[in-house]
């Protein structure tokens, strides 16, 4: 593992506009995320469901010095969220797509607070996100930060310098769009 001061230095170089720093950062963050993700286990008892986001935050903890500048923190999370997405998608691709029972969504179960019956996987989500990225990069970034990076609306708002209300609306729109896109139902023209 790179020393955290070295890492922080790279991050700050990247932020001040040195793209070659990103080339060195990416493999470091990617490896760390993958290693961490593999090492996390799901708790045997209820209460601690694993989330990819916990991994991202743990990576932050391990790679970055405690008093890193706010803007570097923001940049780190943008990078790590994107790479977390890649770790998960790469792994899902490597083990082959999971067969899923198709069929109508179980609205009743969902409305009664049971786990949603979902008929797509992270690879399909990734494809749809690609589409969204081309059309509206900001929406795709908000989705990455929130779902893969675990940032709260307020944190995203601060990072992207938009209001929390906008973040909230963006996420709802993006999610609706992605579900439409994946669901194969009424596609947008």
């Amino acid at each position: 593992m790179a020393s955290s001061s070295n890492f922080t230095q790279l991050l700050s170089e990247w932020r001040s506009g040195h793209p070659q720093a990103l080339d060195r950062l990416t493999p470091m963050v990617y490896d760390e995320l993958r290693r961490l993700a593999r090492n996390y286990m799901r708790a045997e008892r209820s209460g601690h469901t694993l989330q990819a986001t916990a991994v991202v935050h743990e990576a932050f903890l391990r790679l970055i010095q405690a008093n890193v500048a706010l803007q570097d923190r923001v940049h780190f999370f943008a990078l790590a969220s994107r790479l977390m997405r890649r770790v998960l998608v790469d792994h899902a691709k490597s083990r082959g797509r999971i067969k899923r029972n198709s069929g109508a969504r179980d609205w009743f179960a969902e409305e009664n607070g049971e786990a949603p019956a979902v008929d797509f996987d992270v690879v399909a989500l990734d494809d749809a996100l690609e589409g969204l990225q081309r059309m509206e990069p900001r929406l795709a970034e908000v989705v990455e930060l929130h779902y893969f990076g675990g940032l709260t609306y307020d944190q995203i708002a601060a990072a992207m310098r938009i209001s929390a209300a906008t973040v909230h609306r963006d996420i709802r729109l993006a999610r609706a769009w992605l579900l439409n896109e994946i669901g194969g139902g009424t596609r947008l023209p």
Binding site: A37, Y40, R42, A54, P116, T152
Partner: protein, 901 residues
């Protein structure tokens, strides 16, 4: 891909319609889309997808992560680790996976458990220590401790531990599956204590005691797993946990963690005592003390550090979240009891024992496992326990203080523009004062002033268009202006960020203040030359906002850093003192530790006194803080001189109509009421009231607190008319400024009912008492609370006076039941008993009533003395009764020697 313009149209329609009602939506959509059916279909389908109540994206990502882990987990099965062959996975935890492994050698077969630690979870510096610690852990030899056999590293460097394999089930499952009654659970628990006690004698702290770490074998022997392992996984210092908590997503704080673990404070044997308290709570109630309906880590951490858990005897009958009667019955059924019977077994001793073990402050818990286990044994043998009973007085005092603060905070929120203008002006003055000290700062001060004047000139109600601007509007505009104005020098920017942040915070919008303070801290950190004092002040502000927002861990760390920085700064004595005051307030509000707070306030006071410049306001504020700390300890004699000096300084240093002057007077008034110096108390409170009314307006909750204080004062002086008037007014204001079912309203109504009863207006008294009860029932207080009992008691007296003894009897019985359950030895239990006895006599059942009344009166005399109103009343009633039965000798006897009963 669709054209940009079209997509933007869809986006904006979605934004407009997403929160509108369905009917409304149809019409608006039709109007907006006209005959563009395709556009309409697109927006409709997006709105339809938005309805998903669960989040499928979250679910899909979670699944992908889980799949990744499982694939990795199973890879060890079938391989060899040292001399052992891995056979199966026994369990997975947050930090490790445990496998069953076997050692097969000629004539020798051994099954072990191998715990493979997550390297990620292992702190880097701990890796080498792990193998060093193993000798200590391996030396633990106790029948109830699972032995550590060996340890080593896998090929990839991942460390593992080989441990005795225990065939058993976790202690909670063991107890529940066998429907063990309370007594047997306690006996099992005492065995667990013995194992922990053994380890403590060998200087090993477990640190992670929880049901899943205690297995019970078929023979009923408990075995503790993972002794001392948690230490190997713990970060060495809090700074490593800080960034994660800043992001409000700490990976895990187990439900059984002690406050000091959450706060990153030193771990001692007291930490295990706390966890054992939690374990006992879980075993006896079937619930976790801080179980929330949906909990985030942050909420859990906050609860662990701040909330009093519902007492065990209450939680088994309380309605929690979606829990139904059947759930409660099912849980208590596992102990072979109905919820009511279980409550009766837990009330009193066991409540007290668990509460003692689970105190927030480590040094207020049991001093050792021995004393803890000893209390359980005493309870089992029917002897009185040593844990303090009736923590209620302490809690009652705390409720009052909290109540006052809760109301006061609303007061700050509802204050309008005048006050934030004041805050900004005040900060501005500070900047100017600074400028006088250092010529180079003058330019900064000028820029800050210009900026603020600009923001404020637009806040003039006459220049704002259409409506009156709120304080928030002005602050939002100020904050936005700072972020876009690139011409600001860093120092000016930081100064402004802090000013607006402070104003937000005073408006009760601490969440909005946090990012501003964070930016200010960043700027201060990177200043050239560095100015530790300034950084410390910014950190102190940030900590305060974080504290308001409930992020205690970050607040604590920031404050500690602020103190260090300010002390490193050398000459910045007044700034150091500011931070010490903050830290002290934190000790009181977050940790209920007035003793530590008082020490910090005292230090701050000394620093202010030695600091250059006009420190009068600071000195007065420090004195108020000292008075407040003493009040928290109910030490009013100690509080009085602090408050007096504070008032004296205020009179010298600020104009009379200054809010801080009113606060100082209110504090002094409240203390003097307790000191029974009513004349002076009234002067101080009236003065405070006058200032608050003219500064904040009549409908402000600070006004309400002062009014209620005056009500108490006049009631104690038997001036019931005035007391009623003032309390009535306080109720009115609090109703207008707090949520509908705020229990403070019920508390004031109870006071009113007592006053009306005293006055003889029984109809109004009854109405107030009944309303008080109905608010309590809907409030956040548990149904069995001493405040509720107090209202039942007064309602009983009212009904008795209204000649309805049957209805009164019901009320007294309810009051008595609650009191006897929560505070059996208290005088108010005796009072309820006396009232019940008297009522029974009134109803013609002297046979039962007389002994109740006699016993209760004896208890009252012993508890509160002859002159207490409750004792007087009981005596008068007993005399009445004797006379009515022509037992004049008995009557004369108790009148002649009241103390002898």
């Amino acid at each position: 891909m669709m054209p940009k313009a079209r997509w933007q149209r869809i986006q904006s329609l979605f934004g407009e319609l997403v929160d509108s009602g369905t009917g409304d939506r149809e019409a608006r959509l039709a109007r907006a889309c006209g005959d563009d059916a395709e556009l309409r279909r697109s927006v409709e389908s997006l709105l339809e997808s938005d309805k998903t109540s669960q989040d499928p994206l979250q679910h899909v990502i979670g699944e992908a992560a889980e799949a990744l882990l499982h694939d990795h987990n199973d890879r060890l099965i079938g391989t060899h680790v040292g001399r052992y062959r891995i056979v199966a996975i026994l369990g997975r935890g947050g930090m490790s996976t445990v496998y069953r492994a076997e050692r097969d050698e000629a004539q020798y077969h051994q099954t072990v458990a191998i715990k493979v630690l997550q390297q990620a979870a292992l702190h880097p510096r701990m890796h080498s220590r792990l193998h060093g610690e193993k000798h200590i852990l391996a030396s633990l030899d106790h029948p109830s401790i699972a032995r550590l056999i060996d340890s080593g590293d896998l090929d990839d460097g991942t460390p593992y531990l080989v441990m005795e394999h225990v065939d058993g089930e976790s202690i909670d499952d063991y107890c529940d599956r066998r429907n063990l009654p309370v007594r047997q659970r306690l006996e099992l628990f005492v065995q667990v204590c013995a194992a922990v006690q053994y380890a403590h004698r060998n200087l090993v702290v477990h640190r992670d005691i929880k049901p899943s770490n205690i297995l019970v074998t078929e023979e009923g022997v408990p075995k503790l797993l993972d002794f001392g392992i948690a230490k190997l996984l713990a970060p060495e210092n809090a700074s490593h946990t800080l960034p994660v908590t800043l992001l409000q997503d700490r990976i895990l704080t187990p439900e059984n963690a002690a406050p000091e673990q959450v706060l990153g404070r030193p771990i001692t044997t007291a930490t295990d005592i706390y966890a054992l308290g939690v374990l006992l709570y879980q075993l006896l109630t079937g619930r976790s003390p801080y179980r929330l309906i949906t909990f985030s880590q942050l909420q859990l951490e906050r609860a662990i550090c701040m909330d009093e858990p519902t007492r065990p005897s209450q939680v088994v009958i309380a309605k929690l979240g979606a829990e139904k009667d059947a759930d409660r019955a099912r849980i208590s059924g596992r102990l072979g009891l109905t919820p009511q019977r279980l409550r009766a077994q837990l009330a009193g001793d066991l409540d007290a024992v668990i509460s003692m073990a689970m105190r927030k402050e480590p040094d207020r818990r049991y001093a050792s496992i021995e004393t803890f286990a000893d209390d359980i044994n005493r309870h089992l043998m029917g002897e009185p326990v040593r844990a303090c009973q009736g923590d209620w007085r302490y809690k009652g005092a705390k409720f009052l203080r909290r109540n006052v603060w809760g109301v006061a905070i609303v007061g700050v929120v509802t204050v309008g523009l005048a006050v934030i203008a004041g805050v900004l002006f005040w900060n501005n003055l500070r900047v100017k004062a600074m400028a006088n000290e250092i010529a180079a700062q003058r330019d900064i001060a000028r820029q800050v002033s210009a900026f603020l004047v600009d923001v404020f000139s637009r806040a003039d109600p006459f220049t704002a268009q259409g409506r009156e601007e709120t304080a928030k509007d002005v602050l939002d505009r100020g904050a936005a202006k700072i972020s876009v104005d690139s011409s600001l020098q860093p120092e000016v920017r930081a100064e402004l960020l802090e000013s607006i942040g402070v104003a937000y915070r005073r408006q009760g919008m601490s969440k909005a203040a946090i990012p501003l303070f964070e930016q200010a801290v960043e700027i201060r950190r990177h200043a050239q030359p560095p100015d530790n004092g300034r950084t410390a002040v910014a950190l102190g502000n940030l900590a305060r906002a974080l504290e308001d927002d409930g992020n205690m861990v970050s607040a604590d760390a920031d404050l500690q850093e602020a103190v260090e920085l300010s002390q490193a700064g050398g000459a910045q004595t007044a700034q150091t003192a500011d931070i010490l005051v903050e830290l002290g307030n934190f000790e009181i509000n977050a940790k209920s530790d007035p003793v530590r707070a008082e020490a910090l306030f005292g230090k701050a006071l000394a620093l202010y006194r030695g600091a250059p410049g006009d420190q009068n306001l600071n000195i007065a504020a420090a004195l108020d803080s000292l008075a407040n700390a003493a009040m928290w300890r109910a030490d009013y004699a100690r509080a009085e001189p602090f408050a007096r000096e504070s008032v004296r300084i205020m009179q010298r240093a600020v104009p009379r109509k200054h809010p801080e002057n009113a606060s100082a007077l209110q504090m002094l008034g409240a203390i003097l009421v307790e000191r029974q110096n009513y004349h002076e108390a009234e002067q101080a409170l009236n003065e405070a009231l006058d200032i608050e009314r003219s500064v904040f307006g009549p409908e402000n909750s600070r006004v309400a607190v002062t009014l209620a204080e005056l009500g108490t004062l006049h009631d104690r002086q038997d001036n019931v008319e005035r007391a009623i008037e003032e309390t009535r007014e306080a109720v009115k204001i609090v109703r207008a400024t707090r949520e509908t079912n705020f229990y403070g309203v019920a508390y004031y109504l109870d006071a009113l009912a007592n006053m009306y009863l005293k006055k003889g207006d029984l109809a109004t008294a009854e109405a107030d008492a009944r309303e008080s009860l109905s608010i309590y029932a809907r409030s956040s207080l548990p149904p069995h609370h001493l405040y509720v009992a107090s209202t039942h008691q007064v309602l009983g007296e009212i009904l008795l006076a209204r000649d309805q003894p049957a209805a009164a009897e019901t009320e007294f019985r309810t009051a008595y039941d609650i009191n006897a359950e929560l505070a059996p030895q208290s005088w108010w239990t005796a009072r309820s008993q006396a009232s019940l006895g008297w009522t029974l006599i009134q109803r013609g059942d002297a046979e039962q009533g007389e002994p109740l009344l006699v016993a209760a009166r004896t208890k009252l005399l012993a508890e509160v003395g002859t002159r207490h109103p409750a004792a007087k009343q009981a005596t008068a009633r007993l005399v009445d009764y004797y006379r009515s039965r022509h037992r004049d000798a008995d009557a004369a006897r108790i009148l002649a020697a009241p103390d002898k009963g």
